[in-house]
């Protein structure tokens, strides 16, 4: 991609490295934009943080740590265990069904602010019925692959 001599705008692209040509340009664009963003957005913002007018995102904000990290852990565990359990029963979708029931129930419990008997029972019914319904519709009626 070196410029040839006859015109400053001429470009020739070597086929062997043509997969890198456009990404290379995008890297430069990103780098320039990043510097501009730093200068015009991040620097004034940090100055405002220093003066105590604004709070840093993520670090300086209040957050419901239990529910946030709980959600992350539950989702990761759900995704991981789905394929683990699914491998015991290949091509049945049981992995999806079993882990979904557990996941739905735990996540519902975590998101409740007050746990009354009635709420827990509703969540339990929801956790059993919804994945079963999804499993029947997708795996049995539509023949869609599930883990």
């Amino acid at each position: 991609m070196e410029a040839s001599s006859n015109s400053p705008l001429s470009v020739s692209i070597d086929f062997e490295t043509s997969h890198l040509f456009f990404p290379h340009i995008i890297h430069w664009v990103l780098a320039v934009l990043f510097v501009l963003v730093l200068l015009f957005r991040v620097a004034p913002f940090l100055a405002a943080v220093k003066r105590g007018e604004k709070a840093l995102p993520i670090l300086g904000e209040s957050r419901d740590n239990f529910r946030f990290f709980g959600t992350l852990v539950l989702i990761v565990a759900y995704f991981y265990l789905m394929s683990v359990v699914g491998n015991f029963f290949p091509y049945t979708g049981y992995g999806f069904l079993i882990t979904s029931v557990v996941f739905l129930f735990l996540m519902s419990l975590m998101y409740m602010h007050t746990r009354t008997r009635r709420k827990v029972v509703t969540a339990a019914i929801n956790a059993v019925v919804a994945p079963t319904l999804a499993w029947v519709i997708f795996a049995k009626v539509f023949y869609i692959t599930l883990p």
Partner: protein, 503 residues
């Protein structure tokens, strides 16, 4: 023509109705949008045929945009960003006990907005497609560049918008430079160990479902999944009070707002809130009796709701004629179309005339179903606003998994893509980058590469982007105009802010 009629069976209209109903429910629940409705319900379309899938998807789209009015009027919370201006007049009316009347005004306005934009779509999309069919790679690249600049200039801050768009383009380049596009089939932007997973790059739909589904859940979890609505009573107000005479003398408003909505919808990446805010302020500036607006005047509802429903037809215009999504919902639709084997672009309408007519029927049907459901059953629909989030959110995660896993017939990495982009979408929104330009950049990035590299390979000079055709020059003019527009707007708001500071 008979072929088309035979496709329009009972199931077709049933699916359009189901889609609209689910869409309304999603739209009505604050924090959930039409985009999410389409993303979460995607797996339902995997097993459906093309026509049936389309009717379901368009129903979801129309319903999702419309549903936002319900909490906007009843609880002063916009159900979707585009119903923000509905709260200004809707909530005061609901407090006066006129909730049902307000909602019915909204429903009628929505129907008119939806139908006008559908008509514009029907007339305008084929023309634009015919025009763009002659485009070579050079013009196609410039169109994408224009789309990205317009998105960026409509963002809160142009620099941040462009930066977000460029990140989206970068993400789309991960994987091979595909042989089928005339590339050399080599991979880039990754380490060797990632090759088995990322050879084809990230799949579009898991990326979209992750960004719109999972990251919303994460944002909600962070704020503690507050059930601020429990204990709140929904006051729908007394029966009746609605008659079409409310619309007397409001025809100009109705039509103007619908066209504003359609036009804003056409601009790529511009969210729904821009359309309704613009229509609302126009009505406020131009109407003779705007003093009541903001205190419960139906004319505000008319402007807001006709504009936001007109988005639907507008956003489909660039999608169907150029292959460029007009907003984030159509971005998900593009994925769903690809799944059904439809390549959207200039050739779509001429080559798939039947499908095109069927889509129009589905769009109109969805609008009518929306009207019937919401006009007569609004009381019952209004209750879904109170469905507890602790039941809803786990369900959404589950549906996201089904959608991602099944898309490529059972690839677990697609499910992990959900997680990666869920977290990424969360971080992006946290640090103040913009999701819409990023997504559009991601969708258009790989075609931009192909058009750009092919143009240079065949012409060998960068000047071709300026000299190829008069259209290229016009496109550059438009690109410059959108950049200048955004800079001027930025300067204006800065001086205004400084004025306010000094006062």
């Amino acid at each position: 023509m008979m072929d088309i009629l035979s496709q329009l069976d009972f199931t077709f209209f049933l699916l359009a109705s189901i889609g609209t109903l689910i869409g309304i429910i999603f739209g009505a629940i604050p924090g959930m949008t039409a985009t999410m409705a389409v993303a979460v319900c995607l797996p339902l379309t995997y097993a459906l045929g093309l026509e049936h899938g389309l009717s379901l998807l368009l129903g979801l789209y129309v319903g999702g945009i419309s549903g936002g009015m319900v909490p906007a009027v009843l609880l002063n919370i916009p159900g979707t960003p585009s119903s923000i201006t509905t709260t200004f007049d809707g909530y005061p009316m609901a407090q006066k006990g006129e909730g049902e009347r307000a909602l019915r005004v909204c429903v009628v306005a929505s129907l008119v907005g939806g139908l006008i934009s559908a008509a514009v779509l029907f007339l305008f999309a084929p023309l634009l497609a015919e025009f763009s069919i002659k485009f070579s790679y050079v013009e196609k690249f410039l169109i994408i560049l224009l789309a990205l600049t317009v998105i960026a200039s409509m963002s809160n801050n142009m620099l941040v918008g462009i930066f977000s768009g460029a990140i989206g383009v970068w993400l789309s380049l991960i994987g091979t430079y595909s042989l089928s596009d005339g590339g050399n089939g080599n991979t880039r932007l990754m380490f060797d160990f990632m090759e088995p997973y990322l050879f084809e790059g990230f799949s579009l739909l898991p990326v979209l479902i992750g960004i719109f589904g999972i990251s919303t859940i994460l944002l909600e979890a962070e704020s503690g999944v507050k059930s601020s609505l429990t204990g709140q009573k929904i006051k729908i107000g007394k029966e009746g009070g609605f008659s079409l005479s409310i619309f007397k003398g409001r025809l100009t408003n109705l039509v103007r707002s619908s066209f504003i909505g359609t036009f804003v919808g056409m601009l790529p990446g511009v969210g729904g809130s821009a359309a309704s805010v613009l229509a609302y302020t126009q009505e406020k500036n131009l109407s003779r009796d705007s003093s009541e607006m903001g205190k419960g005047a139906p004319q505000g509802l008319i402007a807001s709701e006709s504009a936001n429903n007109a988005l639907t037809g507008g956003a489909l215009i660039p999608l169907l004629s150029l292959g460029i999504p007009g907003d984030s919902t159509t971005a998900v639709l593009i994925g769903a179309f690809t799944l059904q084997g439809i390549q959207v672009g200039p050739l779509f309408i001429p080559e798939n005339t039947d499908t095109w007519y069927i889509m129009m029927v589905a769009l109109v049907a969805a609008n009518i179903v929306m009207f019937l459901l919401m006009f007569y059953a609004i009381k019952y629909i209004a209750r879904v606003v109170l469905v507890p989030k602790y039941l809803l959110y786990p369900l959404i995660v589950m549906m996201c998994v089904v959608g991602a896993y099944a898309i490529n017939y059972g690839i677990m990495f697609d499910v992990w893509t959900l997680m990666i982009f869920g977290v990424l979408g969360y971080l992006v929104q946290k640090v103040g980058l913009e999701v819409a330009p990023l997504i559009i950049g991601f969708i258009l990035g790989s075609s931009a590469e192909v058009y750009f590299v092919k143009s240079l390979e065949s012409f060998g000079t960068l000047s071709i982007f300026f000299t190829k055709s008069p259209i290229a020059v016009v496109l550059w003019g438009l690109i410059a105009a959108s950049v200048i527009f955004s800079i001027v707007m930025g300067l204006k708001s800065r001086t205004r802010r400084q004025l306010e500071m000094s006062q």
